[in-house]
């Protein structure tokens, strides 16, 4: 009888041994690597990436872990240092003057944990005040509302292999002590449960499965669905994350242009869809907001204010000084949406033997605080007015956070 190891080796050999590079692909890669095909890059200069040949757009299956969070913020200049596990972190150079006037941050946030648990957390301590059970199925997404004590959560149907799945959005109200007051079902639909609910609770947006790449927007009041589709002529690319603007009118999304797509209408970066339009071509209904580097090893997290005036990019890089050690450098910078140039460094910290993940980068509705998941089961809350950073313990891995 064959052992597990020998069965595995047999399978891997059968799958991989016949694979040989095809000439057409070789030509594409070689062409893409020619100096004339590539833009010059600088460490913090984030400009649109020049198109290079590609076989076809890579399939982005479900943008669950990579999120683009967009909330209103008027940012101030911040020089951040961190205590605790920080190994490096001289005060970064600041090139901007503070302009923020942050208000009071909401007292609670909701955390969707990697294990599917949904909890209400005290924003000061990170302690759980309430655990919210899904009335049916599993929690898939959580969003903040315009009211500090109201959140929206989406559940996916319990049947794991039904397609399209059934999703339902709930309005969750909590009291001033962080306790759950009500769980009210608002709307049910067939489609992706990785949906984003507008802050005013009037619209649901999710990646459409009726077009190859596109967004469906449901008006909860009327039940009407508008579909915006991409991948028309000159707009080949991948859409991988979405977030509502504070006014519930625009839907921000990240777009990675296919290498073979040409023209400004398809450039990589952050776009804002005008959801008041009646559907149709996605790019035509959108305006370009900001650029970011789509070729980073880890896709960056991007946050931009609703007016496109300030944008923030979080990246993670790893380096091994010795075999048994890994240095993980996390950086958050503000970039000028218009030019892609770095304005200032908000966070630049290296951890020894840390997780190299990118989780959450979110600004609270007051516009004064930035939350960043540093991978250590902690959330770093950055006060943009005072430059203070405090770590909020979570004791859980983060899938999504609403504040």
């Amino acid at each position: 009888m064959m052992t597990t190891e020998s069965r595995l080796r047999d399978l891997l050999g059968a799958l991989a041994d016949p694979v040989e590079p095809e000439p057409a692909w070789q030509e594409r890669v070689v062409a893409a690597m020619r100096p004339t095909s590539r833009p010059r890059r600088h460490r913090h200069s984030r400009r649109a990436v020049a198109p290079v040949p590609r076989r076809r757009p890579a399939r982005r299956l479900v943008p669950a872990l990579v999120a683009v969070f967009v909330l209103l913020v008027v940012a101030g200049a911040v020089v951040l240092t961190r205590g605790g596990h920080q190994d490096r972190g001289e005060p970064p150079a600041t090139t901007a003057t503070p302009t923020a006037t942050p208000g009071a941050a909401p007292p609670y946030f909701m955390l969707l944990q990697d294990d599917g648990g949904l909890t209400v957390r005290d924003a000061a301590t990170g302690l759980v005040t309430t655990t919210v059970q899904a009335p049916e199925g599993r929690w898939a997404q959580v969003d903040a509302s315009a009211e500090p004590l109201v959140f929206y959560a989406v559940s996916a149907a319990a049947q794991p292999n039904t397609y399209p799945p059934t999703a339902r959005v709930y309005r969750l109200a909590i009291n001033r002590a962080g306790g759950l007051v009500s769980t009210t079902p608002i709307y049910t639909w067939r489609g992706s449960a990785l949906a984003r609910i507008s802050p005013d609770g009037s619209k649901i947006a999710f990646q459409s499965d009726t077009v190859s790449t596109g967004i469906s927007v449901i008006n909860i009041g009327t039940g009407l669905t508008r579909t915006f589709s991409a991948n028309g002529a000159g707009t080949l690319g991948n859409l991988y994350s979405m977030r509502w603007s504070q006014d519930s009118r625009q839907l921000l999304y990240a777009w990675e242009a296919a290498r073979s797509a040409a023209g400004a209408g398809a450039r990589t970066g952050l776009w804002a869809l005008d959801t008041t339009r009646g559907g149709g071509d996605l790019i035509a209904a959108s305006r370009w907001v900001a650029t970011f580097d789509a070729l980073a090893d880890n896709q960056p997290l991007v946050t931009v204010d609703a007016h496109g005036m300030h944008s923030y990019v979080a990246t993670v890089e790893t380096h091994r000084p010795r075999l048994d050690d890994i240095d993980v450098t996390q950086q958050v910078v503000e970039v000028d949406p218009a030019t892609g140039r770095q304005i200032r460094v908000l966070l630049d910290v290296t951890h020894r033997n840390w997780q190299e993940k990118l989780g959450v980068l979110v600004v609270d509705p007051s516009g004064g605080f930035l939350m960043y998941d540093d991978g250590g089961q902690l959330i770093d809350a950055i006060d943009l007015a005072t430059s203070r950073v405090r770590s909020i313990p979570l004791n859980a891995e983060v899938r999504a956070l609403a504040w």
Partner: protein, 168 residues
């Protein structure tokens, strides 16, 4: 290698290692087209990182880690989709490969795809590419001890999924 410019060095690396990296991508993603895209992106990433590459002799290790990292991101998306019950295509398998696979191999493939991404990657790197624990650790940016424990657990889990009493 250090005296070549980035494009020349990348071209040489591509000529020497394209097949191995392509097989790595196919084994991790189960999709040749996706693997080709991942490897193209990895080489573009290498070119962009070249000025900051501390040891050009480590370029192959960088490429391998880049392919693993990009593939892992895609695998994680699939895992999340399955976890929350979103209907997804079955484990990818080209028609060409499917014809070649026996029922026995198909069963092993289905079991392999049920493992978490990191376990799949460790098994592929160890049992197809015969990389050392240190090399796998470098590709995954984890410690060698973690590689060993992951491999042991992954093989045991694979055996359990295949209905074997004792694996590894």
């Amino acid at each position: 290698m250090a005296e070549l410019d980035a494009s020349e060095a990348a071209a040489l690396l591509f000529a020497a290692h394209q097949a191995g990296l392509l097989r790595l991508g196919v084994l991790l993603l189960g999709d040749r087209g996706a693997a080709e895209d991942v490897i193209q992106d990895a080489f573009i990433g290498l070119l962009n990182h070249w000025p900051r590459l501390r040891d050009p002799g480590k370029a192959l290790a960088y490429l391998r880690a880049s392919v693993v990292n990009r593939s892992r991101n895609q695998l994680r998306r699939k895992v999340i989709a399955r976890r929350i019950g979103i209907g997804m295509p079955p484990p990818e398998l080209s028609a060409e490969s499917a014809v070649l696979l026996t029922e026995e191999r198909k069963a092993v493939l289905v079991a392999l795809r049920r493992l978490p991404p990191r376990r799949q990657i460790v098994l592929v790197l160890r049992f197809y590419f015969d990389l050392t624990d240190d090399e796998i650790a470098e590709a995954l940016t984890i410690r060698p001890a973690t590689v060993r424990s992951t491999a042991t657990r992954a093989l045991r889990a694979l055996g359990a999924l295949l209905g074997e009493e004792a694996a590894a």
